[in-house]
Subunit: 237 residues, 2 copies
Amino acid sequence: MTHRSVSVVGLDADDTLWHNETLFRDTQERFHDLVVRYADDDVDIDAQLLAVERRNLDLFGYGVKGFTLSLVETAIEVTRGRVPALEIENILAWGKDMLAHPVELLDGVAEIVHQLAERYRLMIITKGDLLHQETKVARSGLADIVEAVEIVSEKDEPTYGRLFEQHRVDPVTFVMVGNSVASDVLPVIALGARAVHVPFHTTWALEAADAHDSDVYPTLSSIRELPGTLRAFERRS
Amino acid sequence: MTHRSVSVVGLDADDTLWHNETLFRDTQERFHDLVVRYADDDVDIDAQLLAVERRNLDLFGYGVKGFTLSLVETAIEVTRGRVPALEIENILAWGKDMLAHPVELLDGVAEIVHQLAERYRLMIITKGDLLHQETKVARSGLADIVEAVEIVSEKDEPTYGRLFEQHRVDPVTFVMVGNSVASDVLPVIALGARAVHVPFHTTWALEAADAHDSDVYPTLSSIRELPGTLRAFERRS
């Protein structure tokens, strides 16, 4: 079955190619330490932030700008307006720090992505703020070795379907690689493509998915295992 | 010269197809009225907001989320932290109102765009927050009659060049239509394509461009003149 060969590999970016969630977690910790000084004792600041992020998701989408707006909103809510404006100014500055933060590739990424480029067409498929994601791809040093960079508002079946059509990709020759089961694995499998899960050590609650059947897709402990996994896909088909 | 025929028409969205700047202006007026109560007498609030927007542009890009963050930042700056957090909560709510606002097509747009679709391939090319722009296109009722929707972080020569390549568009057969000379007209003309300027009655200061030579591109007083203008392009070539 030659059509089961792998010709295009999709790569998630945040927490697959480079650090991202760590930056959000660090900011969230600083946020907690700032806000706790003005909040009522019985408020669960982290739970409230998550609730605010969840209710803003449809309007803000993913990314640092929406996160920063949700931080400010949460700070005001959990302190019932007692947080001083000058503290809110600090929160805004953290958001800018996140946007300006250097891109730190995860271990093995530079080497493995270069290696994959010799054998497969590569696409980076990522969601978040448009300009910020473009900037991160540019800073990553990977822009020139991938065929396309697609920044999308949601990584679901309709989005992947549109990308396959646009880039003339036969789903059966496509493999998506990423740290999020919900965004990188399940929707592409539903479309008849394959996926490889490379978990990051921490996952945002809104990206969490249920445990899986390892027959459906492999889970790697490092992106270094990816070339071998892809070759095994080709042998199996 | 058959290659000078028009085959693809690019349409800007904000303030070309639907109202946008009006919404920003309205919010800015409410912002002024709120902040002036806490600001020093000699502060020019609007000038300060523009300065904040300009310095944040490289980090935030275009769109309502960045605008809202700049409003909050400006409110704190011009009041030297005296603005109460509960007032900042109002500013956040205005940002959400803008994101949730219904799309109001400009006069003649629905009719003219349907008419153009019979004769040309149509593309909407717009910048701003990814999810918000997608939502507006969906709400506009125009999504199904255009061939592609491209949401970009900047409308400059490299961006248009990339779109031409991606959509296999010969620039000499392409005409861009929009209200911004800087974003919709000059970069496409520099690439050998043509452009039509349809001014909106008000333009954001960061989009303003110098007066022009009307031989280079036509300026219409209404989008209703567009079909005739495009046909004149074809006759002239």
